[in-house]
Symmetry: D3
Subunit: 302 residues, 6 copies
């Protein structure tokens, strides 16, 4: 009846989905859609940025004398949205693991996660302040701390990460990853929400930075664009499947600097105060206060 | 009369455009604007994602029992928008090549392209399912296939690529490139729509990946961030101009893994099952099942 | 009264902000918010793109015969918005430097900057035309100059840069950096607005490119993804603080080509016509017309 | 702290609300907001208009060959929204009447109301067709039935009424009244959702028409602007309060015509075929086929 | 498959539409939707108001020095939109009358209508200025002419009418009626686009005013809310159908004042300078300079 | 150059505006646009409705426990917007009256008006509560006070009026009138902001009600649709111009009921407790507790 045999294509797409669902078995007919919403999470993160730095990342016409009114109202609204997303994440987890869903348990759990998260916000702000200072102190091109907050992708990435990490710690994997990917898409910086990062962290330029799930990063670490803190190889179990969830990424101690393009792989330790040169490839631990740089392995021909 | 001598600036801008148009001659006064619209194509791609994966990438409040109603309606609407964009692309091509435009020919051609594309959608979905599984199986950090679909930039990039490639094969160069650039801007992954990629393809992290126009990639290939599959050098014709449209990018056979930052250039072949280490620089073919890694060319000073 | 002790969190956030403000002292109670707005600047840049390339980047339904009406109206509107942002930037600078604010001086200064910028637009268009041609001539995959304007992130980046650089020259640091970061987020190309770049500049693919504040780039330079033109090390003053604003990035002379992933650091000179190979690491000047490439420092194991 | 003593005003507004709540007692702390949403209902009504008259009141770019796809998808979506509003209405009613709320009962009841309503839509369309014909036949200025559907406020009012009346019959008073008021605001025609109106009803011009809750209107009745079909006086109960819900508005039999400004009050009967002249005031029944007109009670002075 | 038997309802709605289409025969399968769009016309009218009164009804941030830039750009855009709507109206008329459609004829005709309309705009503005003065002079509550333009529904109604009447004269019945109904919905004033109204026309308050298709209204006429200038009775042809398109509404000569609620019916003449009192009912001509008022036909009871 | 001689029309429109400006002389070249904005005022009024009745007219997802957070934030934001509109109104007044503008005086005056208005809000809420009760008690069709607040146009009209009247008392004529006209357009009820109305006021149905500038209305007055409380005739001064600003509309004492369509004209008094019947025409004072009704001036013909 319609052009293009729409009905026929619809039927074949249905068949393709059926094949997939049969094949994977993990996706039963939930009769609903228990997944956090990327759009909602984008709004939540925008609002959290405003709550944390009202005069810099809040609404443009905010006045300092009304900061608290703005924060109170926005916080209340945002925590409700967050509660909704957390419940969707928990419901999804229950179903995915084929446990019986229990609405009440989920409600109580979600409420307690939101409540705990909300209490932590002032401290998150304090840690982010150390990141802002680290950026200002670490970049000769930075004219002011305001420029840092408004313009540096590394700052956006660490704000999003510090929030995402809180949810990662609560096993809200989907929510945490969605937050991380929103930041990745905006900045080109890909920090897995599992990474543990202490205060005074600064990523300059940032595009291409990858920081893996089990990384542990100390205080006042500075890294540049295209740095990878990755896994060396993946362990497989007896059936040949990748093993998940074991420590496989580097430990970077306090005051380390890692220049652009360096690749650091595996559960090794970069000792405190070490300086890792640009483009180097490191798969073994580096002693504290040492400097590693690329050999001058290029030749010139006229 | 107005501030800033607006009229004067307008006139000078007109003059600058005239210079350009005279100089290039290729841009005659079309009396209209025969170009596909980036905004329209963004909408079309969003809708196609929903049509292919309704419960994951479709509207957030979609219920499984109404998937087919949603798909039927959206597909019909989207194919009409697509038809419009294809006609704009074809009209542009005709004018650019200074052929006589023929509205009827364009209409018939556009209709047949849309129709053929629509028939392929179920198969595109099936191939994308193999990509999703490849991502899930290939990343220890992946908790579920849903996380893969919602959060992995590599998945978004391959969805967009598989659609763009269909239009590339129909010589709709502008449309195909616009789709590819929308994905590039969102993910940092730059796959030229000409690249031929078989099933089970997975790009992890992805930022900085570049895959050239004449690449040929086999089954179950896995690549990491900042990998380049590029051209080694560009051929010039007798008049010193770059030659376009000849095979100049690598062939990557089945089951190859290419780690982060590797650069593979020219029409060489990476044999099946080969593993290319991070940051290596390859300009010659690599045998099947071989492993190439960077020499340990870094030195440490304390 | 409310769930989650909102008032308590608000108070603690206030305390965190107070600590920060006390600590930094540079942020007094301005009683307002003297900062350029990222959202406004996004709109301004969109409109400037339309003004510069009306039939390609202007509104989709624009007809060639009404280009000038569109430009006149949009230019007038955009210059007013720009004036507003420039005044915010100047006011911020005055306050940040603790000078007495003087509304009249700021108004006069802002007006003259806008006026001068407006006069330069036709010339900016002419230079951008050379960049478009450079892209078309430099990429074998480019089918038409229209494809270049619509699809190449490198073109978007250079349009934004040429505008941002004008404001950088007027010491409008925040405004210039915000424009640069908008382009960085869209393209993965990070050009500091301070960089001086002559005509015919082309960045291909682009993701991961970083060009530092004091770079000087000659005519017809072509660079590829992930190239860094950076500082080698940062000078510190007697108190151990980073010195800012001195020439610390490379000079790249006319007709240089720099392939993907090359890292060029420090105030060195890449002589005219030199070709820098992919992934090389350069910290010393390179003679004119020389070619530098990576040694074949990889080993293969079967 | 803030200008204008915001906190003080907030507290006083709280006090005013407390006074009201204490005084009325009917508004306990529901801890939520169980009220249908006017904005949602506006969307639902817009969509229902499109479902009923797809090519005239549906989306502007709808093609006739895709009517059914559009209707199926929109109907499914709209019935879900409607279900939500009906549940809000039912929950409100339960709380207002201080019954124990029972979510399951409400769900079942709401589902059955939606289901029954959906089945009636084809018939509602058929009756509305008779109204469209009545308008076309009854107005010498009508050029086509399409003009009637697109331009006549009387048609919009009767579409909304026929839908609202279905919900009124199910005791969904708030929902029904909100629909009626949306139409009233758009057209100036105020039909209480309780009014029973048979087929072929036409209101011309319409502004100022008021039709009361217990009106009964036969087939093919035609009325003009500013006609009131109202109650004569209100009965009070022993305690002096208005009695609600008894028959107090006119019965208008088949084929009656009532000209502009006529006022007909009380439970009287206008016999079939009667013609009521403009501006007359009627409080007693009128015989079938009679004509009532205003006496010529005006005088002219030069 | 879906809840609520959607498919079943869709089928029955299809059947209802089929019955209607069969029955009316005038609506053949056009395969498209040739109807002007209410939403588009709303935008066009908004823009025309801005073009006619830029500093009062144009965009809020317009500056007087850029009036002409704004008008030129908006006019060009609006005339194109208008052209589109006129072509839809003409196409509809052709199909409705079962003439062969001829795209070229329609294009030429539409172009000439738009062109002629555009030339008339300055004159329409001049006549509207007389209406504004009439309102200011005629209402003791008016504080300024700006208040009149911004706040008086009667002014909005006459702006829309003077535009609609131009299209009525070109037989664009649907377009004209849609404009009239948009004004009716906003103001409660229902002026048929056919009415001929000379300069200096003022309607105060306005709600409920109805002015019929064949009315002829002279200079400097003032009328109040709820006035009807209507038809007395409708002529029927031999087959009993209403006759359309003959002169059936009043002629109101220069300088007449008609107070609120007066009803004037039939092709009678209200002589120049006559004053018609509130609520009177007039079906016969009134001599020039006479005054007609309601007899004091009310009684008081204590 | 462009179609339709745009430039020519622009020039002629300019000429028409020049004629007008010359002629009226009152509109000098302000170089700006000092007029309150209708769109801004619509937003302000929406927010004020939410502030006054948060759980009924506030945002749909508001929870009772966060009423105060919502009110505090919204109030602060709204008062700032209001301040802006008031300054525009005052600036306009200064210019219109050809006084020297004095920005500081305007700022101080505007601040004090906003501050005073804000303090009055709790009391406005209390009076509106009496209006809500009056509506509930006065209409047999009202099922609940919530239905009254959500659905009754008369309630919306009185909320807007009580706010507008506050600004009228401060001589902010334009602002007050704009608020009144927004309500008029939504409800068909036209209350001049000058009217003084005491508590417990109820308008049922409402379409066509007109209440003049100098009306004085006592407590617990109830009126119906199409009632006019107007001026009998307008006084002219020696030069024949209408006199403005003198008492010319009725005084309606406590507990009066006025039925639909009644017209009451001139500075007369309707004594307390009087009942005015529908459609009557009154130009002389009515004693307290009397009842006035229309004589039965209609005749019936069979």
């Amino acid at each position: 009846m319609t052009q293009w045999n729409i009905q026929n294509i619809v039927d074949e797409l249905q068949e393709a989905r059926n094949e997939w669902r049969t094949q994977r078995k993990s996706l039963k007919d939930f009769g609903g859609r228990e997944l956090p919403s990327k759009d909602e999470i984008k709004k939540i993160m925008n609002d959290l940025c405003g709550i944390l730095f009202p005069m810099r990342l809040g609404p443009h016409d905010l006045r300092q004398q009304s900061e608290n009114l703005y924060i109170a109202h926005t916080l209340e609204k945002t925590l409700h949205s967050l509660l909704e997303q957390i419940k969707l994440n928990l419901t999804y987890d229950y179903k995915y693991k084929k446990h019986n869903e229990n609405t009440d348990v989920i409600e109580v759990l979600a409420q307690s996660i939101v409540s705990e998260f909300a209490q932590k916000l002032p401290n998150i702000r304090r840690i982010l302040d150390t990141d802002v200072i680290a950026a200002y102190d670490g970049d000769p091109a930075a004219r002011s701390v305001d420029e840092v907050l408004l313009c540096y992708p590394g700052i956006l990435a660490i704000i999003y990460h510090r929030v995402a990490h809180e949810f990662y710690k609560k096993d809200l994997s989907l929510l945490a990853r969605l937050i991380a990917e929103i930041a990745h898409s905006k900045t080109g910086i890909d920090i897995h929400p599992g990474a543990q990062i202490e205060q005074g962290f600064f990523i300059d330029h940032g595009t291409g930075v990858v920081i893996g799930e089990t990384c542990v990063i100390g205080k006042n670490v500075r890294i540049y664009q295209a740095v990878t803190l990755g896994a060396k190889r993946f362990e497989v179990d007896d059936s040949g499947r990748l093993q998940k969830e074991y420590a496989r990424h580097p430990i970077v101690e306090d005051n380390v600097v890692i220049y652009a393009g360096a690749t650091i792989l595996g559960r090794i330790t970069i000792g405190q105060g070490a300086v890792i040169g640009g483009n180097v490839w490191i798969t073994q631990s580096v002693a504290a206060n040492s400097a590693v740089s690329q050999s001058s392995a290029t030749k010139t021909e006229v």
